[in-house]
Subunit: 292 residues, 2 copies
């Protein structure tokens, strides 16, 4: 292993790619953001950025679904996505061909969860779930301080939820009539209220609905994965009043069937804000270098 | 490690305890079943049985919820349970005091999942979920060939499910109006039909409901845990026609959002029937001995 080295990270999102370089202590040296257009153009701009630096390894958090099954012939490919230019694109292969260094790839939310566990809201814990509530709803899972993929990777945003009887909103997911993302993502809120989520009044009953669905999902995740912490991030969670409403609804829906830790310690805000996936990416890169 | 040794296993269920002794190759040497009354009486009869054998280690699958957090002061205790004689009972401590050998404790369903992965329906896989549909609905999880507990342990039977609009049944869970166990366990079926599940006609629409709820839970587990196999066991699953209905409903509810493996390989019957937790217990015992 080199005495001193630099690390690269990419957060590959549906609207923009963020690329960053850090020193070996994970201090950011440089960073850019480029719009997500097509693979050639976007990765070309990312390559221009990295060409000024000699990075030793790279960690990539990418929108999914991704094929992360090491024994699959399409390992490292982006699977079905509405972003057609990227559908079936071998993003890991493209990056490996370009950089010829160790590259760790996982989903954006898994890498963000890893960043929050290592440097953010779940430092010192063995496990966490990171949920981002924004344009979509996604979640990442860390177990035993490692990203949890299972055979594919978690798809926390598309679980079915039971509706409040009063809720007749059609939902916005093209796949499912009653999934979490379809009923409670930012665009779902906007469509319910006919205005942007950050403009909906704090006392609008829409927030009770929102809290109820997020809390229901948190109870389900807790019963199935039993993590040490649930971390909430994303644009919708920037509505300060929402977190307390979610915690109250979790308590009500769980109804003491199991005892969770004190909810103020268990359900917490993301600490790394927009940095979680980049910091997680640096740490994945460092781990990839160490396991060389 | 001894050259030859015997292993013990206990399946501690709510109505009966099964205790068994095997040789080092997991061949059963002797086995008994005793009714679950109170801890003194039940464990006394189990001790009488084991007193004829010199076992080197023991694996125990016990009804839950259990405290399996190693850093807890009540590690190895049975937590809240309607079986009041056992509530708060330190079952691991009682067994350790009695036998003074390595003892591995986990939930009955987790140990059964482990048995099915090692010797049953998921041999060769890295992960599985075992779901038993009977007096209650419970589930065990194996990840990377190890029992998965998280901070507590999975409680798969009590996740909320969305109802079919036509379903006005009140449910039978005292904690939750719409949880899987409350709507789809054996007693729920019996109450819906006013007869025992094995007497309900195969073409009764109740089975469509049952398949729908089980399938919904399987989709949720799949999205969150992404296992290699889902294994179904328990009394209700002995209705032969139900498995195909469950698979059809999974396919419909998932609606191609992610691609699961071929459902005939993915959703399968338990192979070890009533032996899964005992076989899993023997293997846990052997592992405990090896890690001494």
């Amino acid at each position: 292993m080199l005495d001193t080295f630099m690390l690269g990270a990419i957060e590959a999102g549906g609207t923009k790619f963020i690329a960053a370089v850090s020193d070996q202590d994970l201090n950011v040296i440089d960073k850019i953001s480029v719009p997500t257009t097509d693979p050639n153009q976007t990765l070309g701009k990312v390559a221009d950025f990295f060409s000024s630096y000699s990075i030793a390894a790279m960690g990539v958090g990418c929108f999914g679904p991704l094929d992360l099954n090491h024994s699959s012939s399409t390992y490292g490919y982006i699977e079905s996505t509405p972003k057609l230019a990227w559908k079936g694109f071998n993003i890991l292969g493209a990056l490996q061909a370009q950089y010829r260094i160790p590259i760790a790839l996982n989903t954006d939310v898994n890498v963000a969860a890893f960043g929050e566990l290592k440097r953010g809201a779940a430092v010192g814990e063995q496990s966490c779930i990171y949920i981002t509530v924004g344009t979509g709803i996604g979640g990442g899972v860390v177990v035993d301080q490692q990203i949890f993929n299972g055979c594919h990777h978690p798809e926390l945003g598309h679980i079915a939820v039971k509706r409040l009887p009063s809720d007749t909103f059609a939902g916005i997911c093209p796949y499912h009539a009653d999934c979490l993302e379809g009923l409670a993502s930012g665009p779902a809120l906007a469509k319910r209220a006919n205005q942007e989520p950050n403009q909906i009044a704090k006392d609008d009953p829409i927030w009770e609905l929102e809290a109820y669905y997020l809390a229901q999902a948190i109870v389900t995740y807790s019963l199935i994965l039993s993590p040490a912490k649930i971390i909430l991030g994303g644009g919708v969670m920037q509505q300060e009043h929402l977190l307390a409403m979610v915690k109250a609804s979790v308590s009500q829906q769980l109804n003491h069937y199991i005892e969770l830790p004190n909810l103020d310690n268990y359900i917490v805000r993301a600490q790394l804000k927009n940095e979680a996936a980049i910091i997680g990416g640096f740490i994945l890169a460092r781990d990839a270098l160490r396991s060389e």
